[in-house]
Symmetry: C2
Amino acid sequence: MKRIDSVKNEHVKRWKKLKTKKGRETTGRFLIEGYHLVEEAIKAQKLVEYILLTEGANPPATLSLQNEDVIIVSDQIMKELSETETPQGIAAVCVLPSEPDVERLEGQFLLIDRVQDPGNLGTMIRTADAAGMTGVILGEGSVDVFNSKVIRASQGSIFHLPVMKGNLQEWVLRLKHAMIPVFGTSLQGASSYTAIEPQAQFAIIMGNEGEGMSASLLEMTDQNIYIPIHGKAESLNVAVATGILLYYFKG
Amino acid sequence: MKRIDSVKNEHVKRWKKLKTKKGRETTGRFLIEGYHLVEEAIKAQKLVEYILLTEGANPPATLSLQNEDVIIVSDQIMKELSETETPQGIAAVCVLPSEPDVERLEGQFLLIDRVQDPGNLGTMIRTADAAGMTGVILGEGSVDVFNSKVIRASQGSIFHLPVMKGNLQEWVLRLKHAMIPVFGTSLQGASSYTAIEPQAQFAIIMGNEGEGMSASLLEMTDQNIYIPIHGKAESLNVAVATGILLYYFKG
């Protein structure tokens, strides 16, 4: 078991850079913290590079302390790496997962078009996981999925199902080519979602919090749907809308 | 139109106290800020006591500046009242609504048992509004509904439908007495929600983020239901679960 006490240690300097999107992209690593997330990452295997523990922290039961990857760090180091007021004393440096090689496209997909709020994105991934979706496809212009707030709101679900990044226009073409019906969401020119039958295979696109889906994507879908508003609210939260649609389509 | 420039003005001192739950309860007032919320409050009538504008702010079109209740305040005052980094320059002091007098209980109700996160509570109220629910009943031990984060997450929906506070045990008895079926939510000893038919009248109880509904309430319901988890997530976010259930029960 290694031990690092100085905040000026080269490892620590590198890990601190993982708090920014640029730092994550140049190093191919990301940081997580807290018992629950670290346990989920250990379960997901292959992803964890180092587990960082403070002296006072209880290691999770699933973790062997003989493990070479466990490093004891000072409270000060943990504090500088953490984004919470009172760190739990456990964090991990993880390797960004490689894009899964999707040879034959089948199943149920959630496509996300420019969602900005990290809490919303994390909750959408958690919801897609709960609904048993095959994968999530994150379009350009969305908040970074390895942002610590996204990871926290996902409650570990980013370790449970593939989250792929890509150009949504290309993905819609691929999905349609694979005979998977693609549903857009829009308040205009759309049918109520209850007019559609639950589906064995489908893809649903959810759009930006304020603006909704981009017009060019809406033109490419097989059908566009909306959730009726029965009261005086202007709209639903995008993660709530995702839950309503995914659970309806799963039948 | 009045004008207040000093942060030591007695009004300003009183308004600053509205940032705490205690201050809201002793004065029977609460603060809101931003164009969208102030417009919703104006539409709801009777609730707005003062509208506060900075010199540079554009008043909403729905607001008559001849109105006695409009007060121009300095940027410094707005900054001290605001909870955002860059205030929009518009805020309002509102009167806490009185409990509606429910003579004959009928319709569709969302009951909330000890939900702690302001974002979750606000989003649940917004979702209940969108689903066209008759009212929301907030049990003891939940976060205060006039907390600024709750109001913001509700996106104005707290002005659209009655949100009543009360003892949930008493409310369950009242609802059952009025022949409205009451559904609890629990992962144990419950049926999948899809086993129930959509209902014309119903009440659904949602519980605390970590612990769920209290055991004593679960024993009082007509039936308890759960949302199946198809993937590896441990649970759904409580606001997402609310959306799935309310929209399902509305049919």
